[in-house]
Symmetry: C2
Subunit: 395 residues, 2 copies
Amino acid sequence: MQQPVVSCSMPSEEIKSLSLPVGWKCYRSPEGQKYYVNISTKVNGHQLLGASGHVLERPDVSLGKNSLSNQSPGSTSPARRQNKEKEIKETKITINCVTFPVPASALEQQLLKPSEWSYCDYFWADKKDPQGATVSGFEVLLQKQLKGKQMQKEMAEFIRERIKIEEEYAKNLSKLSMFPMAAQEEGTLGEAWAQLKKSLADEAEVHLKFSSKLQSEVEKPLLTFRGDNFKKDMKKYDHHIADLRKQQVSRYAAVEKARKALADRQKDLEVKTQQLEIKLSNKTEEDIKKARRKSTQAGDDLMRCVDLYNQAQSKWFEEMVTTSLELERLEVERVETIQQLLRQYTTLRHETDMFNQSTLEPVDQLLQSVDPAKDRELWVKEHKTGDLRPVDMDI
Amino acid sequence: MQQPVVSCSMPSEEIKSLSLPVGWKCYRSPEGQKYYVNISTKVNGHQLLGASGHVLERPDVSLGKNSLSNQSPGSTSPARRQNKEKEIKETKITINCVTFPVPASALEQQLLKPSEWSYCDYFWADKKDPQGATVSGFEVLLQKQLKGKQMQKEMAEFIRERIKIEEEYAKNLSKLSMFPMAAQEEGTLGEAWAQLKKSLADEAEVHLKFSSKLQSEVEKPLLTFRGDNFKKDMKKYDHHIADLRKQQVSRYAAVEKARKALADRQKDLEVKTQQLEIKLSNKTEEDIKKARRKSTQAGDDLMRCVDLYNQAQSKWFEEMVTTSLELERLEVERVETIQQLLRQYTTLRHETDMFNQSTLEPVDQLLQSVDPAKDRELWVKEHKTGDLRPVDMDI
């Protein structure tokens, strides 16, 4: 539908927004309508704005060669050829139905976030994947997100494997600590040995604690950090942006059609004008009037189609900026969350080594106080047979 | 055979010896012969010595009741019953052919090593085992030795089990460290993750080192500490001491036999003496002279048998002292060796925990420098599709 046209001189409040491209401003009109102004393009000293973030630019409303010079390089209309001959240089270029400034005339275009390597600045063009299929910049961003989710899942699997190893190790240690080996060793040495065997049970306990904390404090958070909703959200983004691109394509086709119609009308008008020069007649003047009216109408149609195309493009533009900034935020969150969970892993490992050390203290103490003389005393007291020494027999 | 008899007044050099019972002295004669003197027993103001560690005691050479009072309580000879009637108190008692002082008269007998609970003081008597079989004190000492050897063997088996557990644990850790999980994580987070995985390989290395040191520094020494010779040596000791006991038994039997013969001769002499009182005749005086000669000879025989018995007993006594002191030394050595090896075990465990800690340092460092912005920069540089932003199409 046609945009309402309002004058820029109207009083309006400016709205600051991070996602706003450099050189652009956003205003809210007294009626609460949002307007985007590209202050880098002034038209006849004033600017016409359209609602819902669409900006109308009208460098020239008259239908002259200059206006014809704005067809996509893809088109092969005679008008286009004619421009080439007259060497009027292109300032814009349309690729996959998206209109870019040609690099030469894009020098004044600064990055939205020059200091940040932000997603919103580097994924405007489409590219070809190894199989030669066209992949949009936004799909590249989505793939990064899905890969990140996959990495998170694989890390959780890795931690799970570690947990299993620790459980197995703990099981073996505690089994061994209950083996009867050398259980009959006696005295202070026997106590030290018993404590050494017990220390294996303590070690097992430490490793079991490690594995259970790994599960609750690392594996579980890694598994639950982004639920199934995540992939659904990505799909939503994907479809939303893709739909906007489709609309842009269809509106681009409409523009091409209207451009062709206008060219035909112009030709017809020229022919009739030539006829007038040859022999004057009322009949012909009628025809020329008619032809001029039709040509002007075709011009209005084209203008409307271009307006609709530009609406679609800037809607897509806006969604690209806001969504890529959201994906950027999600990636920062993912990296920081995983960093924090891996820190938790090393903390638990450090604890484990520390607790392990402590399982040895009682063993060391008892080994310190092993005493062969004491052990002999204990054993002799228990097993002695008699301390009366034999003496000679008398006759 | 008969011992050479020498006077105590001979010049001789004293030999000090730990294994010497209290109240005994040892001398070497000019001919280099060793003599043991029990200075607590003096005989007619002088002492008769036998070679090779045997001491002759002769409190009374005349054949009277006092001498008869020295039969073993086990014997049931009429002479013994006669003593009971006359209430002459026993000063010695023979059990399993070993002669002990009766507790009452043994009060002056001090321990050989009063301060030490030494084997050589507490295993002189035999005892009955649970099955009722007689076990000598020395066998009790030998069993302790064999049990000690068994404990040492079982400890080695225990360490071997621990080694196996460590090897298994190390194998699992290094296998896991090579899993491909999350291998495609990128940037600083990717580096930290890769290091975390590598740290498992380092951990594995630490536990492998632990197990191999356990083997070379604990298990092997435990296995080799006392070779097969040990049990052979114990058997030798066993047989040697047992043989001395057997000889003592046989010589005790000889004493009993001689005692019986003497008693018969004495009876015969009494009868003949009574006949003489009835009627005097040359014939009878001849008989009495003959009977007295035979009686004296029987007395000499008994004396010789007692000498031989006492030789056997004090040979056994000497071997008991020296061998039990050797077993005591072996046990001290065993306890101290095992104590030292178990200390080595705890040292290796401490090292392992320490080295384990250090495997985390590089991980912690890389986690420290994880940076989402840096990672985005790296990724964007590699994957960006285009930074030219779309602009509106002109008419």
